[in-house]
Amino acid sequence: MDEPTGNGVASRRGFLRALGAAALVPFGVSPGSQADSLAGRGDVGTLRDPTVLGRPRVPTDARENDKQIQAIETRLACNCGCTLDVFTCRTTDFTCTYSPALHREVLALFDDGKTAQEILDAFVAKYGEKALMAPKPRGVMNLTGYLLPTVAITIAGGVLFAVISRRRLAPAQARAPGGNTDLAQSSGSPEELERLRQALADVED
């Protein structure tokens, strides 16, 4: 007879505890901060169905957060077809098997005492230039790739500047003997001309 009663008391206490905890939630007290593990058992509980998480992970070590290694990996392209760099791919697409393998290659080279540039060169030697996230600025083709847009814009800008400047000079020179339409050189006080310019700017906005 005691057992059901005891269970009833226990469940009532549990219910009241849960109710109290729920009432505290609006006041910012979090009942969940006791590391409540629904699925786990023990210190590090096992999951009910680990297969739905995809590829099992291995614990990260300190080198995962090494800025030097991250910097190298952000300059290397993953070859799974994702178009991401190795670091981004391995920390994003957790189903990719290529980027973790490439990461291990980077770590192995790093452990051999290779510098960042030597590691990049080793990847280029092994996988070709496509292993880099951006082509090296060397050689005619690659340099053209890097410089063409900026050079084209600079030349176009220069030509534009020259053409507009020449247009401005040409009429002024042509009109030099006689009158001119340049407001800056026309009759009237500078104040008057400035007032006109302002009026023009205001009405035409």
């Binding site: 614990p59 760099d85 981004t88 790739g145 814009i153 026309s186 302002q198 700017a201």
Partner: protein, 677 residues
Amino acid sequence: MTLLGQFALWAAFLLGLWSAVMAFSGRWKGRPDLVAAITRSVYAIAGCLVVAALSLWKGLISHDFNIEYVSAYTSRNLPPYYIVSALWAGQKGSLLFWAVVLSLFAAAAQLLSSRRFAPLLPYVAGVTSAVVAFFVSVMLFAANPFTRLAITPADGQGLNPQLQNVGMVIHPPMLYLGYISVTIPFAFAIAALLSRRLDTDWIHAIRKWTLVSWLFLSAGITLGMWWAYVELGWGGYWAWDPVENASLLPWLTMTAFLHSVMIQEKRGMLKRWNLGLIVGTFLLSIFGTFITRSGVIASVHSFTQSNVGYFFLAFLVVAAILSFTLLYTRWPQLVAEVRLESVLSREAAFLFNNLLFVGIAFSVLWGTLFPILSELIRGSKITVGPPFFNRVNVPLGLALLGLTGIGPLIAWRKASAANLQRQFTVPVASGVLTLAALLATGTRDFYALVALALAGFVAGTIVQEFHRGVRARRRMHGESIPLAFTRLVARNRRRYGGYLVHVGVLVYFVAFSGMAFRREMEATLKPGESVELASPFGHTYQLTHLGISQYEALNRVVSAATVEVKKDGRADGIMTSEKRQHVDSFGRPTFEPSTEVGIRSGLQEDLYIVFAGAVGGTEEAVYRFTINPLVWWLWFGGFVLVAGGIVTMWPGGGPAIAASMRSQAGYEVTLVGADKE
């Protein structure tokens, strides 16, 4: 319903061909009945394509898995809103969506255009009908959304988990609306060329269409960034992916057009350039479609590789040849009415602004195509990723930001030294003060410093413009500041809406610069274990792994990893990141497990948590924790940009008499100069 859909597609195709042939042949001249027939055929095409879209939607909603498209992109347990959005989730459905929206835009162009553009409208109908007919032909001959399967599966394959996000319900339609509506300005430009009506009439006809298109593209691109940020889990929002680039290209040229068109309206200049920009924008939108659908360039966004790309390539080439040939034949009639007078003028500033917009578009296009060119010329494959694009485009983008502040400060025609000094003092001081404040607070990243200082300069320009406008109204009308501000914007929506757009742009740049201060770390934690991550703003997050819970939801099995967050020792709530294994209605896995990011967004920074997986089937979890500074401002900048665009295109904008007076005043002042000649 598929039979009805097929019939509707064929009817739309044949009507489109008829309408295009009749419009371009010119037989309608002097035949009002034929003009009416062409217009009615545009409405009929829209009606047919709406029927086709409804037919496919009916198939999707009723789970008709005998339709190959329905089977490939939906399942019985897919939430209803994703069933609706599945219309544009796949190649074939998105083509239908594209065609139906284009046909509706074409009908709206006929219906809403003023009568004074009547001579252009049959040609407009011809161009839009030809483009619609092309899209429908792609469906009929290469990617039919109504194809049936030999055997009906019990359930469909479901929708890609990354598309099961509210961003993907909104982002693709927005982007498509932007791409598609470009066809209307293009059609008016071609109509102007064909009819030889090359005055500014066609410019007036397309102004709102261009703004609509630009607004949709802007919203689509921003929503795409938001989707990438919240869904893809790599912690960023822009990766210079070919498909992202493809959406940026028409946006850049269209933005250039929205600036340069003002010079044509005010001064009768840049007629050839403006026509070229509109044609180029249309071709770039088709180019984007080609890239997305051909598989010619590797992209995470691409549809399955198919022969559809060749259709688009052929269409692109034909449209480019025809358009530019037509432009060339009208070249002599497109002479500027006046010439540029000074480098120190607003016209020149707009020209340099256009040069940068088009230059950046060229740079992005060049980088996108460079791997193909390199392989063709050298035979070796290369990768062109963010380091390349950032190196080339960041300086250009900053120069453009600078011009955003310079342009409004320079007077039309010619600025004097006194004028420049008066205009530039406050904005330059604002930029210098911003730079000094940043240096004083220890900011040392070069590009971030330049971007934020320029943002300060642009902000100074905009504030000065609003301040002067409000002050002038207060002096003239004695209005209160809020009333003066409201009326200032309401009476000159185009100008002040444009400044709001500039505010959006500068906020974008502020947000971009935040990524220079990003912090991230990986950690493996058992329940109860913590790590600390320092924020660039000086505080420290303590992140404690609480555990992993697994449960079943509608169409997925969820593994949720929970993290307790403390900021500088104070409890800051709980965050969750999930792994989702999607399943069909029989519980069978449909895709690889996907990741749902946990994001806590704030004005200063976002805390971005990714649950990478579990160790050995236990609750020991692997996380990537990232602090992304100023990301919230990107979404806010997008909101301001779109709001500014809406203000700019809002009907009205002041009494017509005032506009007329302004126009007359302009002529008077011009005559003062002319008298002295």
